[in-house]
Amino acid sequence: MAANGQSFYELYRRSSIGMALTDTLDDLISERRIEPQLAMKILANFDRSITEVLAEKVKARLTFKGHLDTYRFCDEVWTFLIKDVTFKMENSSQTVQADKVKIVSCNSKRPGDPQ
């Protein structure tokens, strides 16, 4: 039921896997193997599946430390800009450094869902 009633963020379409899917759908449309309507539905399914899979299946975790430069909370979206960040991966002694990291986090429940 959730699949029909609940709507999902489209933000993962900008991830590499989402972009690869969109490119593939474009190719299929170019080759007239599918119609855009089907592509649309596939993307809607992708929005749901990627959200669910990331929430349920991904167990890997990392910790990071850095200097919080800016943060804001606007329209239910938190944004953090962190500088000089060190990431520590689970099960790995290696760390990854980044000068700047931007974290955009949305509520896992869309507006209208129970909080």
Binding site: M1, A2, G5, Q6, A20, M40, L43, S93, D113
Partner: protein, 1012 residues
Amino acid sequence: MASADNGQLPTSLEEVEALIRQLYSPGRSDQVVKTQETLQKLQRSPEGWHLASSLMNNKDQQIRFFAALTFIVKLNTDAKSLSEEDAEALLQTLISWLIQCLETSEGALVVRKLCSTLVAYFMQFSTSWEKCIKHLMYCLCTNETHPYRSLVEAPETAVLVQNLSDVQSVALFWVAATLVEEVGKTDSNSMKQHKFHRQVIPNVDDIVLLMSKYITNMHTESTDGKVKQEAMKCFQAWVSYSHRAFIDDEIVLEPLRNLIEPALACLLDDDLYETTVELFSDVLANYSKFLHSADFSFLKSLFNSPWAQERYERLIKGDFDFDSLQFGMFMIAFGDATVTDLTKDLEKDPQSQQFLSALSGLLGAEGYAIYEDKIYVPALEFWNTLVETMVDDIYSVEGEHPPWFRAAQTLVMQAIERCWRKSQFPPAEEFSSWDSVDRIAFKDARRDFSDLLQQFFLTIGMPLFQVFIDLIHKSAASMNWAELEASIYCLGSFADTVSEDSLRDEYLDKVFTPALLDLFTDPQTEVPRVTMQSFLDLVIGYSEYFKERTQALPKVLTFVFQATSSPALAKKASKAITRLCSDCRNILLPELGAFLQQYSNIASNYSLDGSVKEAVMEGIASIIQALENEEQRAAPLEQLLDFVESDVEQCLLLLSSIVPPEGDQYISETSDIDAGRGAMALDLGITALKCLAGVAKGIQVPDDGPVDLEKKESGPSTFWTAGDGSRVQQRIYSMMCRVYDTLGNRGEIVEEVCDIWRQGFREMEPGPFVMPPNMAAQFLMKANFQTPRLVRVITTACTLISGHRWGAELIEVLSALLTWIASLLHTLGEPGNDPELSQTGIEFLLRLLPKYSQVLLSHQPPSSLEFMFMFTLKALAGSEPLPKQAAADFWATFIGLPNQPEPLQGSINNAIQHLGPMLAQALVYNIGGHAARSELDKLSDPVKKLVVRQVNAKSWLEAALLDASFPSDKVSDKDKQLFLQKIMNLRGARGTNQVVREFWLACRGTNFAYVS
């Protein structure tokens, strides 16, 4: 007869029917594909409407199904070709067919498809068929097809509903459920355009009346249970849809809410239980606003009723059948939806207290988590949510804990105790009999529990830490290994959380006691492997503790070194050694000799994994690094290298005993006789290189060390490159060469060698692995087109460019490396021949640009330089995504280079003037539709740079847009001019990306506008 084989379309209805039968019969997949293609052509053809009408009365069910499907295809693709009269006639035809189907007891397959056809009709003609449900009721009731305009003459819906038969009602439920499911799938843009929600609203009252007939208790006795189930499923679809309508347009389908109460009562009906419990679990999880507060009260009391008690008991006693589990999920969904209220009412509401205790009880159901107990993980997730709620409210009342906090803490502690029990491993033989998915899921569940512990720690602090210390002592005393393991695991969860707590070490003193360490090192005691592993994890997690509390260090080191002799523990033990040595390097300095001795014991164990030796070497090297000066470090380092060299010698000895086939410069392992020795030699080679990489990592200066501001700068030391230390460097280089020269045809060896070089490149201070760049280049340039993992070698060369240590002397080295890269690209020929190599080759050129553009521009001969530029342009215009992205980066950087001194700037200008038109053509070719959508942002970068930096950009781009090679005929010259004008006016601003995207879309056509 026409057949799918020759691609001809059938010419008679009989032929079509034969093809349809062929499609639905078992057969070869390629035949099915061809048949399907032929039939799809027919469906899409203008004759599709006629075809569907001709087939709908066929005696074969499959053909009638295909007829309905053809109507759907035509409606979805060709509805615009129908006039108003045609559309009305089509509706009449479809309804007549439905009436006929119901009269003749047509099978569900066709009726369901026909219902979907009616929905497809609604999606196309919703404005002229607004009250579709009532119209259908009217027609079905009278068994006659009425025009839609005559609906005004129809009786009230309530009257119609009473006169509908069960079969007719079921068909209506199918239509109504499919209707909202299809509308619910509409994407937001299309929804705004067609306002489907507004078209659905007029039907709500009608369908609610029909559902009510079957859902309310009044009708329960006399009706077939299946019809009631269909009614409930329809209600489920509408409730689900109402959520979407609420999100999109804030539409509340109020009449549906009148059915909540009777629907809740259906939970007690065994026939309706499964559908109803699923419905309300989903509503609670996704759209709890749909429920009234009275519904929540009803549910709360329901969970405390004997009916619920009986189901709850069944569940926690180990009945994990579908319906039993569904009940548990229902409880959890209710808990999730009301978690805030439940916790806040804890003190004053016994029902809340009772319900939360029951949810805690779910964590203690019988059986092992995952393997048997299926409710544990969802229940644990609930408790994680509850603890997160507590963390949010931690100081919500004037900086104090809220009044309900203490009661909630008590409940969570009970839940933790149950989770601790559930986290205990089953006996080893039982655990290994589970399938791998269950084993992984069990460990994942333990990690979910550790998340809960970390969160709860924020609300309660060190007392929680103490709980597990007590449990460790209790279980160690009774030698209950499963309990001890779980307690150690739980304590380990806090490693990051308590790292800055001033009391941490005092608490840990009670953990790393001599008694406990003796238990793990006592040869008479057989501690299970998982318990040993968890204890090693504990040592790794709290390795910093031993820096402050040195008294426990010797025993811990004895334990970890002992553990390296066990294959199952060696990896973790070596990791612990690395961490302890690294964290306690200064304390362990006096023990360096003993460590080297310990290593010699380990080194003699040839069965040991290379990564274990690498980790121990890394640890010992980090102690060597703590020695005060470079001179002191050289001797112990040489001792470590002796161990490595012994592996190298052994490797070469084995290889020398193998006779290479003629003409092969490397030793081949293909000979059967020598295969064993070859594999062993390879292992030794890899181990030796891994050990070198380990030493390289360990000897690196820690980046968090103190900086002496008073220290006088005396320039970088030359001890390792020109002084006494150079011997060490030469030894390292020689070992790398000897292994690489004999086993360089193996990818693993290439990887390991590159890893060693990288360790040196990243080092900030002079050291034994920080070799002069010409040595590195000399080594890397040994790789040729046949070298496996050549890409890795090139990326290692890229890392060398980024090093800032060598200054001017690097230029000569980079020139040589560039010549090497050029020869590789020459051999490659076209970028598409090996996309990965092309990408890394271009990335090397890109890395040169910011600081060493003179190296690139002065490359000789000029024809080779021209070849490389053309190579990047070919990559840009090609179809391979990775080289294309690298080429786009290269050109964006090249065009955007800041002004350089003459004559370098002159060379750059010449190159750009010469190549600019070609670059513009490659970019426009992509933007004109050739590029994939995901590449557009990357391709916009060079466009922006061109516009900003090059005066001729406009004419170059204009020529490219009007060139015959432009890939699209969907845009006019005017559109192209407009596009050009827009990007020129934007002057490289971020909006260029959007303009590029829009132009690409225009060139590709409207079919590609399906995603925003």
